[in-house]
């Protein structure tokens, strides 16, 4: 686990003092809400429908047991006993009082946590692969590079007042678990033929009302030039990104209007003219960061665990093992995924008691490490297979053993109208209804991988554009309706989905998903996921299934 040194600790302490002072000036009326807003946003404080919401950063999604316990404490002491893990690996507390926030932030520093740059028009918390350090196929540990970016982007004097928010994701695996191509900048680390590390630099992805899959502007940026190249991209964006219209201010609009080739030319020209050695990270610091993540004291274990195999005679464990445990790079270990999508639960929600229990389980069975995923689940990345049955029992005891990772009920959903002031429609009850429809785990498993993503409005916080099935809440004369899209993907095969047909009433959505799934089951070829079948057949069979009457016209 990475730990702060004295400099990191001083940075956060200075920030908290600054924010305490700003809150004081707001409460005394010296700062207007308009002046205060950008300042509070840069400290993760949103004003929602019912109260303030505090978004706490979880850099690259990596938590220790101690950090998880601190989050549990915040949930209990200052919120209503739970928190909400987000698609950007952060956690949100939805019921925080403005006057309490400086104390909450001071408390969080005791566990090396903060809320810096989790919102606002700045470079946001950098996200990464939740399997970092555990995935066999990764070419390097992406957390190292994410930490490099965390430091560079924190309080960047030039890039604190950007046209709009700016999100960066880093992955070092061919299998993309970060939605890199849906980010302002996606970085995919690879080795070239000479074995040198370099980044594929993808720019201009994003959701919202004009979704884009990012364009590759560099196939292989030498890794040591990461910071100077990011500086060049951000400088071009800061200078020339639109500021006249909130909805056209993201970098995706600049990239689309210039064309990716011209944007790349401008970024390259800026990069060529820059004093790169001044900006790039020296090797010594890279080595320090790498070392500061330490080594997990893995044990030498046989690849096959007798205890694990014996436990498979319990069908519940066998199902959990099939769906939630994946291979680890170290023999005898597994990566255990903990679903926060229990049937009928709010996707991403976790109670304080569950957080504490997970902290204990991670300490007992998983080297004290926990990760947050883009898909709003948690991961214990380093679990000896011998301990998986005991871990499973512990998860069952706190209601966290739902065996549905990547299955139909493992949905992403935004807070929607239950919390969000911008919403057109609720998202959570739709997710709950779909969960109920596919409550039978055997059926869910037979359906296979299916990614449903739900947003309560076109801002697309729930990433519906890149769902295999996307669900978008729309407002029709004051009533909540839902538009379905098919064929999107946020992974390495990224694509924007296509609208299926006219929007449906709230009570029709779960049935329509059921119909789509039945249509897929009827026509799929062996080994095809829902997405693969859709890509092979096109929308025809799916449209006919959901809108049978349309054919008669």
């Amino acid at each position: 686990m990475f730990h702060y040194d004295a400099i990191d600790a001083a940075m956060v302490a200075d920030r908290n003092a600054e924010f305490r002072d700003q809150v004081q000036r707001r409460l005394s009326g010296e700062l207007s809400e308009e002046q205060f807003k950008p300042l509070r946003l840069m400290n993760g404080l949103y004003l929602q429908l019912h109260s303030y919401m505090l978004r706490v950063a979880i850099p690259y999604g990596a938590l220790s047991s101690a950090k998880m316990r601190a989050l549990a404490h915040v949930a209990r002491r200052w919120d209503k006993g739970y928190g909400h893990f987000t698609t950007r690996q952060n956690i949100q507390f939805h019921w925080i009082k403005l006057s309490d926030t400086p104390d909450v932030l001071d408390y969080l520093t005791t566990a090396e946590l903060h809320a810096i740059q989790t919102s606002g028009n700045c470079i946001r918390n950098t996200t990464s692969d939740p399997f970092a350090g555990a995935a066999a196929e990764e070419v390097d540990d992406p957390r190292v590079w994410s930490e490099v970016i965390r430091q560079w982007s924190t309080f960047h004097p030039e890039f604190t007042y950007l046209p709009r928010k700016f999100k960066i994701a880093v992955t070092a695996s061919p299998q993309d678990r970060t939605a890199a191509r849906a980010h302002d900048i996606g970085l995919v680390l690879r080795r070239n033929r000479e074995g040198r590390l370099g980044f594929e630099v993808i720019v201009g992805g994003g959701m919202g009302r004009t979704p884009y899959i990012g364009a590759t502007i560099r196939e292989h940026l030498p890794a040591e030039h990461l910071l100077s190249y990011l500086t060049a991209i951000l400088r071009v964006y800061n200078r020339f990104g639109r500021r006249d219209n909130l909805y056209k201010a993201r970098i995706k609009i600049l990239v689309a209007s210039l064309g990716a080739a011209e944007f790349a030319r401008q970024a390259d020209a800026e990069w060529e003219a820059m004093d790169r050695p001044k900006v790039d990270l020296p090797d010594l610091e890279l080595a320090r960061i790498r070392a500061s993540f330490g080594l997990v004291p893995f044990r030498t274990l046989p690849p096959r665990s007798e205890r694990f195999e014996a436990a498979r005679s319990d069908p519940a464990f066998a199902r959990f093992a099939r769906n939630n445990i994946v291979a680890h790079k170290v023999s005898g270990y597994g990566i255990v995924q903990v679903s926060l999508k229990g049937i009928g639960e709010v996707p991403g929600d976790c109670s304080a008691d569950q957080m504490d229990a997970l902290a204990d389980l991670a300490e007992q069975y998983g080297h004290g490490e926990i990760r947050v995923t883009h898909e709003q689940n948690l991961v214990l990345p380093h679990v000896p297979l011998d301990d998986a049955p005991a871990l499973h029992a512990g998860l069952v005891a706190v209601g966290l053993a739902t065996p549905n990772i990547n299955l139909v009920s493992d949905m992403i959903a935004c807070p929607g109208l239950d919390y969000c002031a911008l919403a057109n429609a609720r998202a959570i009850p739709i997710a709950q209804a779909i969960g109920q429809t596919f409550a039978d785990p055997a059926r869910a498993e037979a359906i296979g991988e299916l990614k449903i993503k739900i947003s309560g409005c076109i801002n697309a916080c729930g990433h519906h554009h890149v769902g295999h099935i996307g669900i978008l809440g729309v407002d029709k004369k004051g009533e909540e309706f839902y538009q379905l899209t098919l064929g999107g993907s946020g992974a390495e095969d990224a694509a924007i989905g296509h609208v299926l047909g006219p929007a449906l009433g709230a009570d029709k959505v779960a049935d329509a998903i059921d119909t789509l799934v039945e249509a897929y089951m009827a026509i799929r070829q062996p080994g095809e996921r829902f997405l693969d079948t859709y890509r092979r057949t096109g929308v025809g069979p799916f449209k006919a299934a959901v809108y049978p009457d349309a054919h008669q016209a």
Partner: protein, 173 residues
């Protein structure tokens, strides 16, 4: 009020420059600040007449237009029409780091004390603000360390760490 940063010290100064609007008559006072557009029309003549000239650069203006005359300019004033408009930070960095401008870089417009550290780090050394120099200095020095290199040439955290690593006495603590 105009605050200047000189030798690590923030203090108020009298402003000897007169900001002249685009359709105002030029005053006789020696030192004037013109918009980029007006400077492009009248600047050469004024400089030739030996006057001190500053140019006000708006956020949408391209500072590249000034590169050739920069050595002759007394100051460049970068305008913040709204404090959320962050383009002037990049302009300031370019002026200092790319074009080596050694004159005054002044922040004008919606200048809030909470931005003092951003401005100082990006190379501003004069600030038109309603805040006093002590409050301004405190806000500018809020952070004891910095993570990245910028126009102020403060040592970033990685350089501080490297120094410490080289000095065995410092490493003990």
């Amino acid at each position: 009020m105009l605050i200047r940063l000189e030798n690590d010290h923030f203090h108020t100064v009298d402003d000897r420059f007169t900001a002249v609007g685009d359709d105002e008559a030029l005053p006789d006072s020696d030192a004037v600040i013109l918009s980029l557009a007006r400077f492009e029309a009248e600047g050469t003549a004024l400089l030739a007449a030996g006057r001190d000239v500053g140019v006000r650069v708006g956020p949408a203006d391209r500072v590249e237009a000034l590169v050739d005359v920069l050595p002759q300019l007394a100051l460049v004033a970068l305008d913040f029409p709204k404090y959320r408009d962050g383009r002037a930070y990049s302009t300031a960095v370019l002026l200092r780091d790319r074009y080596g401008f050694g004159g005054e870089v002044r922040a004008v417009g919606d200048v809030l004390v909470d931005q003092a550290w951003n401005m100082v780090r990006c190379g501003f050394d004069a600030f038109e603000t309603t805040v006093g120099p002590n409050a301004w200095a405190a806000a500018a020095r809020r952070y004891r360390h910095v993570y990245q290199a910028s126009a102020d040439n403060r040592a970033p955290a990685f350089a501080e760490r490297a120094t410490k690593a080289r000095d065995p006495a410092a490493r003990v603590g």
